[in-house]
């Protein structure tokens, strides 16, 4: 397992040498959505708190870094941390309200959606943030401005983000923190009775998750050079964030990555071929069908199934 992982990472590091520019873009998106999925996985998967408004954190992070860069000339390398911190603050507020008031399941989903939508409408109405049209970033190609002539730099940054989030998830998983999150997900009252401070650990999970997602917002903004409230805060982005870990296996270390390798190419292909000619929303229909299919036929996601299949094969050859 260790060797396979190391081999995989080495292969991904070497890959840009042989990739076409379109394939490079595809991999950047796979890593980036894998990163966002892994960040969501910490609170949505391990802790089992279904946040359906994670786009809010992307939006807060992206807008913060961009405004700091445009207005104060602060480099996005620092701005991304400030954006992450503000996103974590929003996460803490949402978490505090949701967990203190005991909102579970459906009620927590509604709370997170409501916050994301409020952010979207509010930002659309603030002229200083560009209103409904959003902000545009002039391309300078200056690395200090988080801009690169060479697309491979974005590739490595996105890869690093995904690996970083996965490392954090791994560290959580093997510590008391992770064991406690799993216990909370399974049965919160029983966990409390065994000395688990459920509120504290859910808050921690929410803060870590929203911080990472906020950092992702900076990458999103400076990779695309533009931010619109409807795309950065909108429900479709929240759906993009949660669908990969759910398809891959929520609450597993490699679920979000596997989910991104499966879904991102599909989404890009459908956007490329169906999105043209006014076929709006085609890939969201596919996501809807996929969600239904996963719930009905693969409720734990693809990764646990894959792992068992591999273990069986390994057992058979031995």
């Amino acid at each position: 397992m260790k060797w396979a992982l190391a081999g995989g990472v080495v292969a991904l590091v070497a890959l840009p040498a042989v990739l076409s520019s379109y394939a490079l873009t595809l991999f950047i998106l796979i890593f980036f959505y894998g990163f966002l999925g892994q960040a969501w996985n910490i609170v949505g998967g391990y802790a089992g708190q279904l946040s359906a408004g994670h786009a809010a954190f992307v939006g807060v992070g992206g807008y913060t870094a961009t405004m700091l860069s445009i207005e104060l000339g602060l480099t996005p390398w620092v701005g991304m941390l400030v954006g992450g911190a503000l996103a974590a603050l929003l996460g803490a507020i949402i978490g505090y309200l949701g967990f203190r008031f005991g909102l579970r399941g459906f009620y927590f989903v509604l709370l997170t959606v409501a916050f994301a939508e409020i952010c979207r409408v509010a930002v659309s109405n603030i002229d200083a943030l560009g209103g409904p049209l959003g902000l545009y970033i002039t391309f300078t190609g200056n690395p200090r401005q988080f801009q690169f002539q060479d697309g491979r730099v974005y590739y490595y940054i996105a890869l690093a983000l995904m690996l970083l989030a996965t490392l954090i998830a791994w560290a959580i998983e093997r510590r008391r923190f992770g064991v406690y999150l799993a216990a909370i997900r399974e049965d919160e009252a029983a966990a409390e009775a065994l000395g688990v401070n459920a509120f504290k650990y859910k808050m921690l999970a929410m803060v870590v998750s929203s911080f990472l997602t906020g950092v992702g917002g900076t990458f999103y903004a400076f990779y695309l050079f533009s931010l619109q409230p409807n795309t950065l805060f909108g429900i479709p982005l929240s759906v993009e964030i949660i669908i990969r870990p759910i398809v891959g296996g929520a609450g597993t270390l490699f679920g979000p990555i596997l989910g991104s390798f499966i879904l991102t190419p599909l989404a890009e292909i459908s956007r490329r071929y169906l999105g043209q000619g006014g076929l709006y929303g085609a890939h969201l229909i596919a996501y809807g069908v996929l969600l239904i299919g996963v719930v009905l036929f693969l409720p734990e996601g693809a990764y646990p199934r894959l792992r068992r299949a591999l273990a069986r094969r390994a057992g058979a050859t031995r």
Binding site: V179, Y180, A182, A183, E186, A189, E192, A193, L194, G195
Partner: protein, 244 residues
């Protein structure tokens, strides 16, 4: 000196007095039985003591410290652990992982906690089922698991809520042995139990609850013949026998 003292404990649900001004003490090293007809308020008492409910009035002192208003996890860390009447295993975790959650309360390091959990699992006789997902256990084994998880938190006082309900006589016999062994290892125990034979065999002292109030208290032999106790139970039988 007593390990746990509750004074004037009261809890109402709507107009119903579930617990009405109850005094209760558990001495260090004691095994105390809490019995009473259905709806007497026994489980409510457990919920009050373990912090799942906040009392409307009264005080609870554990080891010289008031624990009223503390959250369940904080009370657990102060040395009071409980089981649930309807067992609540973490179904997708294995037996060992379940018990490790409890063990982490005393050993924050994952490795130590695992070793500690393994000990406890062996103690309750689930050693061979360590790697079985809790959802796949029989009821008798789930009851053992419930006990093991609470035990792993290293309690000074263990609250057991009907750990024998639903088991057959042979299984009850082994659980009685187990509870006795836990008690002998130095853990004080407060026991809710419907199985009279088990309560009588295990308890050093018994408190009888009816409509949220203590109606009798004493050694098992005295309780069995106490007129108020007989009345309370007969009353229940009568209600049960009446057509619905």
């Amino acid at each position: 000196m007593s390990l746990l003292t509750a004074r004037g404990l009261a809890k109402r649900f709507g107009g119903l007095h579930a617990v009405a001004g109850l005094d209760l003490t558990v001495a260090r090293g004691e095994m105390l039985g809490l019995i009473g007809p259905n709806g007497a308020g026994k489980t409510t008492v457990f919920n009050l003591l373990s912090g799942f409910l906040t009392p409307d009035a009264g005080d609870i002192v554990l080891d010289g410290r008031s624990i009223v208003g503390l959250a369940p996890h904080a009370i657990c860390r102060l040395g009071l652990a409980r089981t649930f009447q309807i067992v609540r295993p973490f179904p997708r975790m294995t037996v060992l992982e379940n018990v490790r959650v409890g063990a982490l309360a005393r050993s924050p390091r994952a490795g130590e906690a695992l070793a500690r959990a393994r000990d406890v699992v062996a103690r309750v006789g689930l050693g061979t089922r360590e790697r079985v997902p809790a959802g796949a256990l029989t009821l008798a084994d789930r009851k053992r698991l419930e006990l093991a998880r609470a035990l792993a938190t290293g309690p000074a006082l263990l609250l057991l809520d009907e750990v024998m309900a639903g088991l057959n006589p042979t299984e009850i016999e082994t659980i009685i042995q187990l509870v006795r062994a836990i008690h002998e290892s130095g853990v004080s125990i407060l026991l809710i139990e419907h199985n009279m034979r088990a309560v009588m065999a295990l308890s050093q002292r018994i408190v009888v609850l009816s409509f949220g109030e203590r109606i009798a208290e004493g050694a098992p032999a005295d309780i069995a013949n106490h007129p108020k106790v007989i009345e309370a139970y007969l009353g229940e039988e009568y209600v049960r026998a009446a057509p619905a």
